[in-house]
Symmetry: C2
Subunit: 224 residues, 2 copies
């Protein structure tokens, strides 16, 4: 013990532990450019302490990424879980969940994690193993579970729920890479809402039942 919350007069950066601070620095500077001196200074901790805890720079990187991936997945799963609150208006519920998933994807830290992964995946291929089980895979699976329930209840067309989940996820996140300019642009909540609405609209056209609210209007997919 001895970190963060226990100690009183720390900066926010240090309050979350050295690995969280390390993630911020790694994401900002890149692995090679990030110096341990900078990480230690930003975490308000002696450089030696980091070596005591993590051994070397690579181990610190892996720990930082694992912690951040856990955080991101928890947020995603919480959003998908809201599909249990299905109260009769499928479109509204889907749009709500979609909006939250889009928000997760547009999150500053989400972009930072994705950037860091793309950047270092060549030098550290084993980062994939750290991410697998903590990333989009379980989220899509959980989404497939919810969609399967909805299909069984007659609110969606039958078929492979995994495929449906994949298509919905693609519709929600596929355009965000371009819209957010690789994470350098922050898009407004209104624009996020428009993306979610357009995605759900297309999804319901393709996977909704005739009885369901498939055809409202062609979404005015212009942004706000």
């Amino acid at each position: 013990m001895g970190y963060g919350v226990v100690m009183s007069g720390r900066t926010p950066a240090a309050a979350a532990g050295p690995d969280a601070t390390a993630f911020v620095v790694f994401a900002r500077e890149g692995y090679a450019q990030a110096t341990l001196d900078a990480i230690a200074a930003e975490a308000r901790v002696a450089k030696h302490t980091i070596y005591n805890h993590f051994g070397d720079k690579q181990t610190l990187l892996r720990a930082a990424i694992a912690a951040e991936a856990d955080r991101a997945m928890a947020k995603n799963l919480a959003a998908v879980d809201r599909l249990r609150d299905y109260d009769g208006d499928l479109r509204v519920t889907l749009e709500d969940v979609g909006r939250q998933l889009v928000a997760c994807y547009c999150d500053e830290r989400g972009w930072a994690l994705r950037r860091l992964l793309y950047a270092e995946i060549n030098q550290f291929p084993d980062l994939l193993d750290i991410i697998t089980g903590r990333a989009s895979d379980p989220v899509t699976e959980a989404l497939a579970d919810r969609l399967a329930r909805l299909a069984l209840a007659g609110h969606l067309r039958g078929g492979d729920p995994a495929a449906a989940a994949e298509q919905l996820a693609a519709l929600l996140t596929g355009s965000l890479e371009a819209r957010c300019r690789y994470g350098t642009r922050v898009i407004s909540p209104a624009e996020q809402h428009a993306v979610a609405r357009a995605a759900v609209d297309t999804f319901l056209h393709a996977f909704g039942t005739a009885s369901g609210p498939a055809a409202t209007t062609v979404a005015t997919a212009a942004l706000a």
Copy 2:
């Protein structure tokens, strides 16, 4: 003069010029880790020669990325342009184009470019300016142009063709990040075909006309 094609006994790496070689090394090692000595050696060129041509390391990076982005965009635009060969079977034509776009996205060099962009966008925000006009933006726009023609001819539902193009692009590429594991996994042509077919199927359900071939079967979107 003095590079590449003109000289006979060069390795493939050097045959394309120092900037192409530089891109390969930058993508493999990362900007900071890539040494000019390594680039020069791999390009079969003296380090000094690189400085004569590009001035410094950053300029070399920008030149390498610009060249690679041009190459990628040309390939994408060629694929979209095949939508002009519309011969009556919309689904077949769209799947053909979709398959080619998926292949572009899964291209080894395409992943390398995307990785490099994600990796260095923080250190070199101006890379976005280099990419804008050479990247997915013009491709989506060209796709919107083709879809507008198809809608006008009654083969697709009306509405904003830009939105339709964005949705189609999202369906095609949205699942590839996960499927290709950030570019470290090569997916088979059969799997690429399945992705394109599922995307086009969903797209036609949402944007096809009643007269069109909207409903075939729910695509058996299992991979091969």
